[in-house]
């Protein structure tokens, strides 16, 4: 038997209802796919962004805030730690490298971050900038990949105001009023993309940040930048530490969790955040699953209603010699085709929705979310399809018992 002609005719005759069924299913599938893909992208990309931040040292306070500010540049006013910590780290044999990080200034909405060349080059993983060169003087800056400024341009940072929400690339109204007019920095290079919010940062020597804020330069010798610092080192909000070994990392974390400092593994903080994210995701997945059940219930009712309006049509087919199996197959395929189209459209729509949300998130945070479609996404859609095919048997079974004579009178 070949139900193709009848399935085609049925779908054509119920265009409006078919469209509604497809849209309902597509929405259910899209929400599920988008939720899973978005959470996965966020988890993966946020973990990638923290790769070079093995250990963070800051003043006692919120571990999460220290990580969010240092790794994701969600700048908040962090309490400062004494500059002497930098001296201690310099002489600590467990430390392979370290770099102070200082925030607080902005240029055209881009955060200005003071650090050392070691961290700018991500512990020497970046051999050369994408354009220009690394900074070599207090008055030079290197920009992240996505900063919409040009090499050779001069800039004067402004003091960021707590509570102001900076839009990268757009100077806020308060920037002009809080500009450090006496400071002029020359952009000398552009870094390659890292996919992290640091791509939207303007990196300058830490000495420049200290000097701008009247804290000296950390060096007795004028114009010098980078390690080692002298005895009177100004305070900093955070220090990134690269331990020599894993045991060293744990030892350093223990050592700097006392004496006026706090040490955290960003990865550990992220695991806690992921746990919370996972809890939220679980709630959303339960909501999404309920939503899917409701939608499939509605679709089943629509299909049963559609079938009841077509009893006469199928009765005629029976009168013309169609077997019960043929009618069951046509009704089942009618529903299955709609559900399959809904699933495919939903998968594409969910993928597109993830892209849109990712783009919005990246726009807001600078964190490039790496969107991916995995077998679990496809298998969950296939499971919906299998569930849908089971649901499709309800109108099909109803079709099995059509009394021919009654239905065509």
């Amino acid at each position: 038997m070949n139900p193709h002609l009848m399935v085609r005719a049925d779908l054509k005759s119920m265009r409006g209802s078919a469209f509604a069924v497809i849209v309902l299913i597509a929405i259910a599938v899209a929400i599920g796919v988008a939720l899973a893909a978005q959470e996965r992208a966020l988890r993966h990309s946020s973990a990638m962004a923290s790769t070079d931040f093995d250990l963070l040292i800051g003043a006692p306070g919120s571990q999460t805030q220290l990580v969010m500010t240092s790794v994701y540049l969600q700048t908040e006013a962090l309490p400062l730690i004494n500059g002497s910590v930098l001296q201690q780290l310099a002489s600590d044999s467990r430390v392979a490298d370290f770099a102070p990080i200082a925030f607080g200034d902005v240029v055209s909405g881009y955060p200005v971050v003071g650090t050392t060349l070691a961290f700018v080059s991500r512990w020497n993983k970046i051999a050369a900038p994408e354009e220009g060169r690394f900074f070599t003087a207090e008055t030079e800056a290197i920009i992240g990949h996505d900063v919409n400024l040009t090499v050779g341009e001069s800039l004067s940072p402004s003091h960021a105001i707590a509570g102001d929400f900076d839009h990268p690339g757009q100077a806020s109204k308060s920037e002009a009023g809080h500009r450090h007019e006496h400071v002029s920095l020359m952009i000398v290079g552009r870094l390659p993309a890292t996919g992290s919010p640091w791509d939207r940062a303007i990196l300058i020597p830490i000495e420049s940040v200290w000097k701008t804020h009247g804290l000296g330069t950390g060096h007795s010798e004028n114009g010098r930048i980078g390690l080692p610092f002298d005895a009177n080192v100004p305070p900093v909000p955070a220090i990134v530490v690269k331990p020599r070994t894993v045991p060293d990392a744990y030892a350093l974390r223990g050592a700097y969790r006392q004496g006026g400092t706090m040490a955290v593994f960003p990865a550990e903080v992220l695991v806690g955040l992921y746990r919370n994210l996972g809890d939220v995701k679980d709630v959303l997945i339960v909501a999404s699953t309920l939503n899917t059940f409701l939608i499939f219930g509605a679709v089943t009712l629509i299909m049963l209603t559609l079938f009841s309006t077509r009893r006469r049509r199928y009765g005629i087919l029976r009168a013309l010699g169609a077997t019960r199996l043929y009618i069951v197959l046509v009704v089942w395929l009618d529903a299955l085709v709609l559900i399959a189209i809904g699933c495919i459209v939903g998968l594409l729509f969910g993928w597109g929705l993830t892209g849109l949300v990712s783009a919005f998130f990246s726009q807001q945070t600078g964190l490039q979310l790496q969107q991916s479609l995995t077998w679990s996404d496809i298998s969950s859609v296939l499971m919906l399809l299998v569930g849908g095919s089971a649901i499709s048997t309800l109108p099909a079974l109803a079709a099995y018992r059509i009394p021919i004579s009654e239905s065509i009178k």
Partner: protein
Amino acid sequence: MPNTTGPKLNAAPHGRLTNVCVEYIHPNKQPVRILDIPFLEIPAGRLLGLRGPSGSGKTTLLHLLGGLARPTKGQISWASSEISSLNEATCDSWRRTNVGFIFQDFHLIAELSVLENIVLPLLFTRLFVAQEIKDRACQLISSMGLRNPHQGISTLSRGEQQRVAIARALLHEPTILIADEPTASLDKESADGVMKLLISHAQSTGATLIVSSHDSQVLTYLNEVITLHAGRLAKGEQRK
């Protein structure tokens, strides 16, 4: 022994109804008899008309004769096939092979073309329709005075639609043709055309033709007419 399978009959069969009655259960739970035919013979190749007022049981009788419904009691046989005792699948097969139905409202599939409507019943049991059968369907379409086999049903007049329904009923060369009020929704000219087509086909193939109609003009085309009143055969049959 009656044949319990549904093979293709080689020639128009002889039909016989014996002690057939159809009852339904009224909401007051009492059985109501809507058809009661002690005996009726339909000779092979007969052009039989069926008349009677609405509710007299014409359609019920046609459905019984075509294997669409089963009697509450009694036997219905065509040649050696007692269709009232066939199981559902065998009865489907018998009907598909031996009977061509034409309905008052044509019951075409509006979303399919003329040709697709005509070959559709063949796809109930086949994966594909052979080109030679499609060619035969096109010849049939042409012989019905229809020009374009790929034309949409909704673009046809009602007379043309009934001709497509007739072509659909004739494609598998049935030995029994059953038409339930085939001209009721047609104008006189179209009705004459449809009846001429049916008579012509039945006579050329030797098929038995059974037509129910309210229209006495239509019944004049037939060589025998029986009348039903309240589910019973009226006395005195009109024979042409």
